[in-house]
């Protein structure tokens, strides 16, 4: 974990597994982003500590959401 990874990362949080999967499938197919999906905001928070550039896609209704 020395040099920060410069690949743009999409961070997707939703409590619906089917939503996460369908978004991940689409973005992986059509974009260059690295796609990270989380069904729990806590896990997502943990993950963003190691990444520098990310674009959050977030279901703001997902329980325990403290991303924003």
């Amino acid at each position: 974990m020395t040099a920060p990874d410069r690949t743009p990362v999409l961070l997707i949080v939703d409590d619906e597994e089917m939503v996460l999967t369908r978004l991940r499938s689409f973005f992986m197919l059509e974009t260059e982003y690295e796609v990270l999906t989380f069904s729990s905001p806590a896990e997502a928070l943990e993950a963003v500590k190691t990444k520098t550039h990310y674009c959050p896609v977030n279901d703001s209704l997902t329980g325990g959401n403290r991303l924003f």
Partner: protein, 598 residues
């Protein structure tokens, strides 16, 4: 040789002569008695004659006939006639009781020539000393003693002889039956007079009674008497009523035939209620009729009393009428309540279904969105995969692999069909949401064409194999309404239409505008509706579908919904040709939400 007839002595001849003279006298007396009896038949006259003749024939001072009075207490004899001979005063006669007592006890003639010295009649008071001698014989009719024939104070020295007794007995035996007959006849006369008296009393009572009274002969069943009230009640003159059959005046079966009359005779009386009597030139009146069998003079008669109950009947009929009206009102209200209850229940059911459908539609959003999106992603993946396979770096054998080509074809098909399937599902869910609009409590501006299309999507399953739907949409504005309710009307009419048509059915939906009114017509070329049913078709509970098929509420709810929107629904139909339901709705409905608050 036997002696010839012995010559009669002078004494014998004299005696014979006297006997013959007596017999002649007796005959003459009897003859006289018979004449008087046949001419007068008066008991007094007969008795007087008997006494007179007895006194004359027996040469006594006085005579008396005493008749036994039946059923009388105390002295059972009544002295009918006493006669003093040749005008001398009638002697007081105080020992009657002793004499009659003796005669009743002994039932045979009594001859006393010296009353003072004879003790058979007991002690004789000084007042009776005028009676010196007496002869008494019973008067017998049919073996019964009916009285006494007495003579007193023989006016010869020798006093009463046995010949006197014999003569008096003959007079008694000859006259007793006559006296008894005369007595019976007089009794009869007196009874008849009593009867006439009672008839007069009856007539007077009849007249004075406030009720109408008719009297009919039992045998002929014809009217004999009627009182003034009866004349007034029947409205017929007295001479017209008399002689008429009773049943002609009081028209009841009980008076009409002889058999019924016999039953009346057995029961003795008959009571009938509320008999209607027609009156000339007047309203009919009602009477309680009370008939009873009475003796009127020597007739058996039926007395009919008519008690006027017209007022009572009027009141009763008024009350009955009133009660009926109340009953009807209660029925009507109950029916109304039941109808509105049924409608409320049905509306509540529809509302609940609407909520359910809306909830389901909402829940389906995510999975349908996912499938739709995945179908797209799959299609894109296939494009990418084909791109990879066309690269030069792709080995030839991979590119030409037959199995790979088949897999790609399958994936293409699936991707395409999934897409179409998703579109269909999205359309249906959209229709469901549209149909079951949850904003039911509010009036919304809605496009009726949109509502019709949503409804058609939902009843697609019902219609697809039965009928072709032709839409002839005109230029109509959106209207202010409760869209979910209006959609429900469309759905009912479309389902009915689809059930009315057979194969090659056609359902036509026309929309148009008439000023401020929007018209929606739903026609079918189905079996049509019988004219009788056409009038009841919007009645709650009316259905021609089998039990368990229809609730009979559909059209009544349609009617209510359209009515609540200030519109109207009409139906035209011809059996065998089809039916057309026409809905007219104002562009701006009255607010209905308040009206629904019951």
């Amino acid at each position: 040789m036997e002696a010839e007839e012995t010559p009669k002595t002078l004494t014998e001849l004299r005696e014979e002569n006297q006997r013959l003279r007596r017999a002649l006298e007796e005959l003459s007396i009897l003859n006289q008695i018979g004449t008087v009896i046949s001419s007068t038949m008066s008991l007094n006259g007969i008795v007087e004659l008997i006494v007179e003749e007895s006194v004359a024939q027996l040469n006594v001072e006085q005579g008396a006939v005493m008749l036994l009075q039946k059923m009388t207490e105390g002295d059972p004899f009544r002295t009918m006639a006493r006669k003093a001979y040749s005008g001398s005063d009638i002697v007081p006669f105080r020992f009657g009781q002793q004499l009659t007592g003796w005669m009743l006890k002994n039932q045979k003639p009594l001859l006393i020539n010296n009353v003072k010295e004879d003790d058979r009649l007991g002690a004789v008071s000084s007042g009776d000393l005028e009676i010196r001698s007496l002869l008494s014989v019973p008067l017998r009719a049919k073996g019964q003693m009916v009285g006494l024939l007495n003579v007193f104070n023989k006016q010869t020295e020798e006093g009463f002889t046995h010949d006197d007794q014999k003569l008096l007995s003959i007079i008694a035996s000859q006259s007793a039956q006559v006296v008894e007959n005369a007595r019976l006849y007089e009794e009869l006369q007196s009874k008849s007079a009593d009867l006439q008296q009672s008839e007069r009393k009856y007539r007077s009572l009849m007249q004075e009674a406030g009720e109408a009274i008719l009297l009919a002969d039992f045998t002929s069943r014809r009217i004999m008497e009627v009182n003034d009230e009866g004349v007034r009640v029947t409205g017929l003159p007295l001479d017209v009523i008399r002689g008429r059959p009773l049943s002609g005046i009081i028209p009841v079966d009980e008076f009409a035939d002889a058999e019924a009359f016999e039953r009346l005779a057995e029961a003795g009386r008959l009571q009938l209620s509320n008999i209607k009597l027609e009156r000339r030139n007047a309203e009919p009146n009602y009477y309680d009729v009370n008939a009873s069998l009475i003796h009127y003079g020597d007739h058996r008669a039926v007395q009919v009393i008519c008690h006027d109950v017209t007022e009572r009947e009027k009141l009763a009929s008024h009350l009955r009428h009133h009660a009926e009206e109340l009953e009807n009102e209660v029925h009507q209200r109950t029916r109304d309540l039941r109808e509105s209850q049924m409608r409320l229940v049905q509306q509540e059911k529809m509302a609940a279904l609407g909520r359910l459908v809306a909830g389901v539609a909402h829940e389906m959003n995510t999975p349908i969105g996912t499938i739709t999106s995945n179908a797209d992603t799959l299609a894109r993946s296939l494009v990418k995969l084909r791109g990879i396979l066309s690269l030069d770096s792709c080995p030839e054998e991979v590119r030409n692999d037959r199995l790979l080509a088949q897999v790609l074809t399958v994936l293409d098909d699936i991707s395409r069909i999934n897409g179409l399937a998703c579109e269909r599902i999205v359309a249906i869910v959209g229709s469901l949401r549209n149909f079951a609009r949850l904003d039911e409590a509010e009036l919304k501006t809605a496009d009726l064409h949109e509502g019709l299309d949503s409804t058609l999507t939902l009843v697609h399953h019902e219609l697809k194999n039965r009928a072709v739907v032709k839409k002839e949409y005109g230029d109509i504005q959106s209207i202010l309404c409760h869209p979910n309710q209006i959609n429900q009307v469309f759905m009912n009419l479309l389902v009915n239409a689809s059930q009315a048509v057979k194969d090659k059915g056609e359902i036509t939906i026309r929309t148009s505008r008439e000023g401020d009114i929007v018209v929606v017509q739903i026609s079918d070329n189905g079996v049509g509706i019988l004219p009788d049913n056409l009038q009841r078709i919007f009645d709650p509970g009316f259905t021609t579908k089998g039990v368990g098929v229809g609730t009979g509420l559909g059209l009544s709810i349609c009617f209510k919904i359209v009515q609540d929107h200030g519109g109207r629904i009409d139906v035209e139909s011809e059996v065998g040709k089809g039916s057309t339901f026409t809905i007219r709705l104002p562009l701006r409905s009255r607010p209905v939400a308040e009206q629904n608050q019951l």
